[in-house]
Amino acid sequence: MSHRQDITCLLQGHSFIELSARERAHSLLDAGSSRELAGPFDRQYSPWLSAQGIVAQADDGVVICKGLLDGQPAVVAAIEGGFQGGSLGEVGGAKLACALELAAADNRQSIPTRAVILFETGGVRLQEANLGLAAIAEIHSAIADLSRYQPVVGIIAGTVGCFGGMSIAAGMCSYLIVTREARLGLNGPQVIEQEAGMAEYDSRNRPFIWSLTGGEQRQACGLADALVEDDTPLIRQQLLDFIACGLPAEPRHRRSQHMLQRLLTMDSTTQADAASARQLFQSGARP
């Protein structure tokens, strides 16, 4: 693609990554159907941040929107990566868990509410410690519960990515959509560098980091279901396609055997790299 075409593409495109969490949630739901629950004007601030001298955000960084997806009831939970690294504390975590729990309750009353989670998060908010961890555990339970009735679709667009306990939540989704800019990992690069040393894992080497934890690699390794361009209509279409597929034959969180088998065959005497990781996860019988 020529430089001029690149620029035209950029100017005409509808980037999803450039949207705020609130804009992302509204852009996915059917036009005019979206309404926000427990929004910023309800002023449910984190009670813990200001006590620690940190400026809080009126929605605690989590946006919950109820509406329709392709005419069917849906709830979208979007995490704002810009606020405190998208970390989940007591309030934001409770909002997300409660949205999923209410969607499951809807399904038990024959209302087929499905859920979409927009992950842009470093995981638990360290300033809220155990309360954040408890909230993330509630989110895991709620995904397991709701995904018995309806697909729970996760989207990691970037640029924050999805780490920590919330990477487990992403791994529990019925379907996971990523972009090339997305990253998915249990530990963030700096944490791994601290443990393994810079010689093995240089957190400032961006091509290296993305080659191992980036969206393209994760999709190639089977840890994400679709790799999509950073384009709002394309991401929305992929979301609708997955919802139309209905529930997967077996929920993702029950498909761990394949991965465990692959890990058991791994040769840990040589340093793993992007290519060998792909080869490892692509070999053997697929679930």
């Binding site: 910023p40 004007f41 200001s50 940190i54 400026v55 809080a56 955000q57 704002e80 810009g82 606020f83």
Partner: protein, 98 residues
């Protein structure tokens, strides 16, 4: 963290709520809700200590003439620069009058 409360004379009540911005690094969020006619109440939580003089100067330029709509304005600032603050304030007031 610094907390400031400023008041200015104002006109008729604002007619809608407005939210702009995010409490991201170098950015801020502004929430506007209508208030009884005649007063603007502005509350600022700022991560930038020692920024009170600058906040007064910036808000004075916008509100001192008493022509703004009466509102409660809440600003949560994560150390935005004066340039970003001006843009966000302009965006918020533009959306309020839209």
């Amino acid at each position: 963290m610094e907390k400031l409360h400023l008041e200015y004379p104002a006109g008729a009540p604002a007619t809608q709520r407005v939210l702009v911005g995010v409490v991201a690094s170098g950015d801020l969020e502004i929430l506007i809700t209508p208030a009884p006619a005649g007063r603007c109440h502005i509350t600022i939580h700022s991560a930038a200590d020692g920024s009170a003089t600058r906040w007064r100067a910036q808000l004075e330029r916008l509100f001192a003439d008493g022509k703004a709509a009466a509102m409660q304005m809440e600003i949560n600032d994560f150390a935005a620069t004066p340039g970003v603050i001006s843009l966000r304030l302009a965006q918020a007031l533009e959306e309020l009058s839209a």
